[in-house]
């Protein structure tokens, strides 16, 4: 579907590869391939995977466990080498990891010896080296407030609950102002009540910042509630994009409005049908 909706006048050429890009494309995966060598021969996890994600788009990814979602996301993050094909951010091929692609990991991955403020500052200091200390502190505090942690600036990561820690993770990711935000089942380990709270917090910040987001989830309702498009991956090996579902709910959304919308169950059925076949 992707290229048909792009206005032709925004197109330009990538000299290196002669590939056509739209300037509305933030993230471009083309002919992506991943092979893990194993003692029993090569294990081809992903093959010929093509996906374009637009600026200011929120895409969720669902697929069976073990199909290669994490593999794909860590390749986009630059943490996992590419076996074939390309990944480009705004037309430039990625070279390893970098703060233009913020990651929210499944486990909060906070440095336990640092306070929540220090954890956020670690990234902010790195990305805004020319700002004054006060400015950087303000940025970090702003995002911690946004995730509801104004009373926990100086709490050590280990003193916070899992949900609180993941809030710091969200603040840390937004505070470095990445071009793309990558989320790998960030709420998978939380109870459903906390998960709902964090979804609300995430989407509230996102509404404001509109950072292109790619989020893996195994929760169909979460996938619909957050996304502009839900990308369904086929089961591995050699997984690729199986289907894409546009979610046409207007933004900003409320959970109540989404649940009461006529199309909600149609979307839900579509996704569940895909996963069950």
């Amino acid at each position: 579907m992707s290229s048909t909706i792009i206005d032709q006048k925004y197109r330009h050429f990538d000299i290196e590869n002669g590939i056509v890009y739209s300037s509305d494309v933030m993230l471009d995966l083309s002919k992506l391939k991943k092979v893990y060598p194993t003692p029993k021969g090569d294990h081809v996890v992903l093959e010929d995977l093509n996906l374009q994600i637009m600026k200011e788009e929120f895409v969720t990814i669902i697929g069976h466990s073990g199909c290669g979602k994490t593999t794909m996301l860590s390749m986009i993050a630059g943490l996992n080498p590419i076996s074939g094909g390309n990944i480009a951010v705004l037309g430039h091929h990625i070279k390893g990891p970098g703060p233009d692609r913020g990651v929210i990991f499944q486990s909060p991955s906070l440095m336990p010896w640092m306070t929540s403020l220090q954890n956020v500052m670690l990234g902010v200091n790195q990305v805004f080296p020319h700002a004054t200390k006060a400015q950087r502190t303000d940025i970090a505090k702003y995002y911690l407030q946004k995730v509801g942690l104004e009373d926990a600036f100086n709490k050590k990561a280990t003193e916070l609950s899992q949900g609180m820690q993941q809030r710091v993770g969200i603040a840390r990711a937004f505070a470095i102002k990445p071009k793309v935000l990558l989320l790998d089942e960030p709420f998978g380990m939380l109870d459903s009540l906390t998960r709902g709270e964090l979804q609300d917090i995430l989407i509230e910040i996102w509404n404001k910042e509109k950072i292109t987001a790619v989020m893996i989830t195994h929760d169909v309702d979460e996938a619909i509630f957050l996304a502009d498009r839900v990308v369904m991956m086929t089961s591995g090996p050699k997984a690729k994009i199986g289907d894409i579902l546009n979610i046409d709910f207007e933004r900003p959304r409320t959970r109540k409005a989404v649940l009461e919308h006529n199309d909600y169950y149609k979307y839900r059925k579509h996704l569940i049908d895909f996963l069950e076949h």
């Binding site: 993050a77 630059g78 943490l79 390893g96 990891p97 970098g98 703060p99 692609r101 913020g102 990651v103 990991f105 486990s107 991955s109 440095m111 336990p112 010896w113 640092m114 670690l122 990234g123 790195q126 990305v127 050590k156 280990t158 470095i176």
Partner: protein, 369 residues
């Protein structure tokens, strides 16, 4: 209030909190029926074990005393005839110092020796103080004339020996720390380096303290030929450091090489430079393991120190024990046992200090070790 709080901290520090807490509950009448098991476990059993320990010690020393006495009488009988044997028997029974069997001392004898050593310490301290006052005026004059001041050269007291030992172990520990931690970090960071120096660690780690001492002796003796100073302190603290550093080296390398992959990924995503990566991520995350290593290092250092002092003839508890053993006086054996308890207690306290530091820096405060 403040005092009882610090008291609480102290008892907790030496691991007596459970015992004292239960005893306190007993006297304040807070003891419930279900606490009985607790009471049994935390008060009765420890007390019983203490009585058993001293009881066995007492009985053991008594029977060894009898064996030794019988042996002496028998020897006199065989070598000098019945009259001499009878003389020896009455002499032993009279408690005369000249013919007491010399064997494992009883708890009471050890306690006496302890008091004597303490009294001896006070006497020497007083002597030292008097000497200082007497020479103060003279020393001022000597220093003004550019001459070396007169220093006290009397015999060191038992407490002086303890302090010397502590000084040596501390110097050795610092040496181990300054060698093992930096090398451990460098080895931990590089897989290639780790596998290439592994054989050195594996081979030298199990080498006995005695051999380390000899090695250090060879080197220091050569380097130190010209200087007139006593090199035994240098030799013993370097040996202690070399013997004890391995645990820290291995633990530091392990800590640095096994940093949680998530933290490394965070560092990669943020593109932290190598220096930042080491100081902000790798070192803090391996600190608990480094301190585990340092704790082992300190206890090993204290353990080998005694043997090394003994062999290197450097002052301290080790040479105290050795001199008493060579001395063979009536109370020598009980002095050795006093030293044994002191060594044990100090080792225990050093370990507790390290444990407290270790707990302080561990991220998860619930980690009990």
């Amino acid at each position: 209030m403040k005092q009882s709080m610090t008291l609480g901290k102290v008892t907790k520090f030496i691991g007596l909190a459970g015992f004292l807490g239960t005893v306190k509950n007993m006297f304040t009448g807070k003891l419930e029926k279900e606490d009985f098991k607790n009471f049994l476990r935390k008060v009765i059993v420890p007390l019983a074990s203490i009585f058993l320990f001293f009881g066995l010690w007492y009985l053991g020393s008594k029977s060894l005393y009898n064996i030794e006495a019988e042996h002496r009488i028998y020897k006199a009988l065989v070598e000098q005839g019945p009259t001499e044997a009878e003389k020896v028997r009455t002499c032993i029974a009279s408690g005369d110092i000249s013919c007491q069997p010399n064997t494992l001392p009883s708890p009471a004898q050890v306690w006496e020796s302890y008091k004597m050593l303490l009294a001896d310490h006070y006497a020497i301290s007083a002597d030292k103080q008097a000497f200082k006052e007497k020479t103060a005026a003279l020393n001022v004059k000597r220093i003004a004339n550019g001459e070396a001041p007169i220093v006290y050269t009397g015999r060191p007291s038992f407490v002086d020996q303890i302090l010397t030992s502590l000084k040596t172990v501390f110097a050795g520990f610092l040496l181990a720390l300054f060698i093992a931690v930096p090398i451990g970090i460098v080895i931990g960071l590089s897989k290639t380096l780790r596998s290439s120096v592994n054989w050195i660690i594996q081979i030298f780690k199990p080498v006995s303290p005695v051999v380390w001492l000899l090695l250090v002796f060879m080197i220091v003796k050569t380097l130190n030929k010209d200087s007139s100073g006593d090199s035994s302190f240098i030799i013993s603290f370097i040996s202690v450091g070399l013997c004890s550093m391995w645990a820290t080296l291995v633990n530091t390398a392990m800590g640095v090489s096994s940093v949680d992959k998530d933290y490394i990924n965070v560092a990669k995503v943020l593109k932290l430079g190598p220096v930042q990566k080491v100081f902000k991520v790798i070192l803090p995350s391996s600190l608990p393991l480094i301190f585990t290593g340092l704790r082992i290092t300190l206890s090993v250092a204290w353990m080998v120190l005694i043997a090394i002092e003994l062999l290197a003839q450097s002052p301290g508890l080790g040479s105290f024990v050795w001199e008493e053993f060579q001395n063979g006086a009536v109370d020598s054996n009980s002095k050795i046992i006093v030293a044994m308890f002191v060594i044990g207690l100090i080792g225990f306290l050093l370990d507790r200090i390290m444990l407290t530091i270790q707990k302080m820096i561990s991220f998860n405060k619930n980690d009990g070790i």
